[in-house]
Amino acid sequence: MDPKVVADTLWVLITAMLVFFMNLGFACVETGFCRSKNAVNILSKNFIVFAISTIGFWILGFGLMFGNGSSLWGAEGLWFLGGADNSPATADAYKGAYASLNWTGVPLLAKFFFQLVFAGTAATIVSGAVAERIKYFSFIVFSLVLTAVIYPVIGHWIWGGGWLASKGFLDFAGSTQVHSIGGWAALTGILVLGPRIGKYNKDGSANAIPGHNLALGLIGCFVLWLGWFGFNPGSTMAADVDAISRICITTNTAAAFAMVTSTLTSVLLIGKPDLGMTINGCLAGLVAITAPCAFVSVGSSAIIGAIAGVLVVLAVIGFDKVKVDDPVGATSVHLVNGIFGTLCVGLFAESQWMPNKASGLFFGGGWTQFSTQLLGVLAVGATVFVVSLVAWLLIKAVMGLRVSVQEEIEGLDIGEHGNSAYPDFVVRKSLPMSGSMMTAAEPARR
């Protein structure tokens, strides 16, 4: 066996396993940032969503995304990974149904696993944004639609040789493909569901609904950070030593700078270094560097991270003000910084790391790449917004989307699952959002 194929396959599979582990990270962050009465429900959603992604992406998603076809979607080898394939042959030696992945010299199932864990990530982003009020089975149906249809079709445009790829749109590890898609789907879910009971008062002011376990939140953040060392460096899909080393460091540097700037922004705007904001800041830096990680210098990654850390705090506060109730900040982290990171390719990219491409605006390449990036952001944004909005509304019409008022007050753990995450803990009664405040804020619900 060719040693390069062995090394590349090991690299792809190990980094894919790291990305798989990010499911735990999302489960921990989201559970910790929500109330204990909904912990079982959030854990359940984050757990089963990977099963749903596996099924959806195997049945249809992979073929739709990477199968040879039109510029809009894949058509060959559509179902159950069933197309002809002679991987790990590459380039012109490759003969098969998934030619858009002929640049990586690993077996088809390694390609599938790596792409599957990415699709799973996009689906799990939605979970936190719609938490504490969505019906369990309605969420599962949406996850299936997202991973089997929405994610793969956009993925065909960007990574499957479709029209955005032809235009030169660059999204190395998925600031748009994974994070913005997840973010747009999350935003439309929030808009259809409306805010949680008790989040807004009659006069429109917002209440804090504190999460029940910041320790769990921080564990989740560290798990995600670790996973990102698979997410970004793994997207080379080859053990290219220079590239994976640099991407590892651009990824880490962006996270570090974003943590510092989000903490400082939190001090300036709120008064104290809020740990929840530092956690969101770390994740925002990671999301922002995801698209440009392979194309920018370590110095540029520091600037990108630093800006991302400020953006995420402003976004959390801004979304709260316009009554987009996102319990965990998924839209601020994944949508806002997914867009920002994608645009950063057009600003900070350097041609030394991009064969046959012009640099970004700040490195003498002019506006060309930036305008292509902007086109991609707008096209993907508009499409995912409309399609996911329709999907949410259909699910709402057919099976209902939101749990009953009583169930929401008592917690989804008992209502949806008949479980309790902490059955022998004494519940503290003195936090806000209990009893009278909930009923007082009831009219604010959409």
Partner: protein, 112 residues
């Protein structure tokens, strides 16, 4: 007979119990309580919004003693429970009309 009710910091319960044991007391009942004084709780923040936790956890202890023992127990509680910061709590002393020991039926001072 008097009832001494003291609302103290939960973390001071051990110190207070040891202090009144040194003085001597007939018996004690404690309750986990929540409440606030003039500060009306504490303000906390969560991701950009602030919120007030109005009721803080406290321990309420009740001791019934003869009139002569009130002052030394009160002083012992003060000494053990005081930190000098807001939230140290309060002590209430009130009259008790009667005490009945359920097992023997004894009443008044004999029942203490």
């Amino acid at each position: 007979m008097r009832k001494i009710e003291a609302v103290i910091r939960p973390e001071k319960l051990d110190d207070v119990r040891k202090a009144i044991e040194a003085v001597g007391y007939p018996g004690i009942t404690i309750t986990e309580a929540e409440g606030h004084g003039k500060q009306k709780g504490v303000v906390q923040q969560w991701r950009g919004e602030t919120y007030r936790v109005e009721f803080l956890p406290k321990i309420k202890l009740e001791i019934i003693v003869g009139d002569a023992d009130v002052e030394q127990i009160v002083q012992a509680i003060i000494k053990a429970a005081k930190t000098g910061s807001v939230g140290d709590g309060k002590i209430f002393v009130s009259d008790v009309r009667d005490v009945i020991k359920i097992r023997t039926g004894e009443r008044g001072d004999a029942a203490l």
